[in-house]
Amino acid sequence: MTDRNLSDLSDEELILEFQKNNTERAFEILVQRYKNPLTNFVFRYLGDYESCTDVVQETMIKVYRYKDTYQSIAKFSTWIYTIAGNLAKTELQRRKRRTILSINAFGKDNDENYEIPDENYRPDTITDSGIKDEIIQKAFLKVSEAYRKAVILRDIQELSYEEIADIMGITVGTVKSRINRGRAQLQKLLKGIHNE
């Protein structure tokens, strides 16, 4: 199969091609298609670009290694988002375990968080609306994990409720409820921005 033919195939057809004939080019096309959406999703969920890149790479490696576990019943996007979501969750838990003695305890006031300046490349700091993005991202991280995931998948990734339900392994009703609760929490946290 030529490159052009492969590019025309759907995600499901590409993964089947990779499964049956071990066509690496099919996998590369899938990586090209999903690297940016997944990076965006994981970054909003974790709030750290370096960890986010690692998680997305791990996701792709899992797809490569466990390609045979994919069943054509499910959508490929649902499958890959589920893997990425699970890995991101694991990363969050690992981070929580590491920071038993939190750096926040050394802040000026108990209520305010003291952030160590990070000089690394951050996509949200190189744009004009960088400050606003940073505030929103910080607010996002304060929203509870389950609600945050649902809101990101719906309002940022623009996935359907059914897809989100499949990814999170919950009913559509629960998805809607979580999205609303997440939005409510965000609205509370971002009151100042909207008033401006």
Binding site: E28, V31, Q32, K35, N36, L38, T39, N40, F43, R44, Y49, C52, T53, V56, Q57, E58, M60, I61, Y64, R65, P123, D124, T127, S129, G130, D133, I136, V151, D155, I156, E158, K176, N180, R183, A184, L186, Q187, L190, I193, H194
Partner: protein, 215 residues
């Protein structure tokens, strides 16, 4: 569903804000890094179930728990007087040994046979002959042929082991010297002469009673 649409309008500002967020992109060298990791196999290998189970963080607490359980069990067991320690119990001894004909016969050793014969003589005073096909009287088996009272009892024994619960034709196991059931019956050996005389008397009385009843 209506409630949900209302909520969507209620949160329209936040939805707009989130949709307007800057899209984060993967780094330029993402694919190259990924393929390098795949090809070199440097990515973290999945641990098997056994490897996960044998992690020190899981193995040590479970081993400690198991050890504690064993110690507690033994401590409680030693204190209980009702239960007998199986390690200190004497082994069970079988009364008789009966086996099928398929059991290989141990060849006679002259020395052992003479020694065993001596032991047998001491135990029974007279060597006990093997059962043979046909019938034998009680007196012939027990060497009381001279005793007219006993020899006239009319009790006979067949060559087959009629008491055996094993199916098929059975025989005695040869250990180089003649052994039969009566020879292994240690109770009879422990009877005193007086007891034997009493037994004989009782038998006689019984036979007389039977004869009288028949008449």
């Amino acid at each position: 569903m209506e409630n949900f649409d209302e909520n969507s309008q209620q949160y329209s500002d936040i939805i707009k804000t989130l949709k307007g967020l800057q899209r984060v992109k993967a780094p330029a060298n993402f694919e190259a890094d990924l393929m390098r990791r795949i090809n070199t196999g440097k990515y973290e290998k999945e641990k098997s179930l056994w490897e996960k189970f044998l992690l020190p963080s899981r193995l040590i607490p479970s081993a400690a728990l198991g050890l504690a359980a064993v110690i507690v069990f033994f401590v409680l067991n030693i204190n209980s007087a009702q239960l007998e320690n199986p390690l200190l119990m004497p082994p069970r001894v079988r009364d008789d040994v009966v086996a099928t004909k398929d059991v290989p016969v141990i060849p006679k050793d002259e020395q052992t046979s003479t020694e065993n014969e001596k032991i047998n003589k001491e135990a029974n005073k007279k060597p006990v002959p093997f059962f043979k096909e046909g019938t034998k009287t009680y007196a012939e088996i027990h060497g009381t042929a001279g005793d007219s009272d006993v020899s006239n009892l009319g009790i006979t024994f067949t060559g087959e082991d009629t008491e055996s619960t094993l199916p098929g034709n059975t025989s005695m196991v040869s250990f180089g010297y003649p052994i039969n059931k009566s020879g292994l019956n240690f109770r009879s050996n422990t009877m005193t002469r007086e007891e034997r005389a009493q037994l004989q008397m009782m038998k006689k009385k019984l036979i007389e009673m039977m004869r009288q009843l028949n008449k």
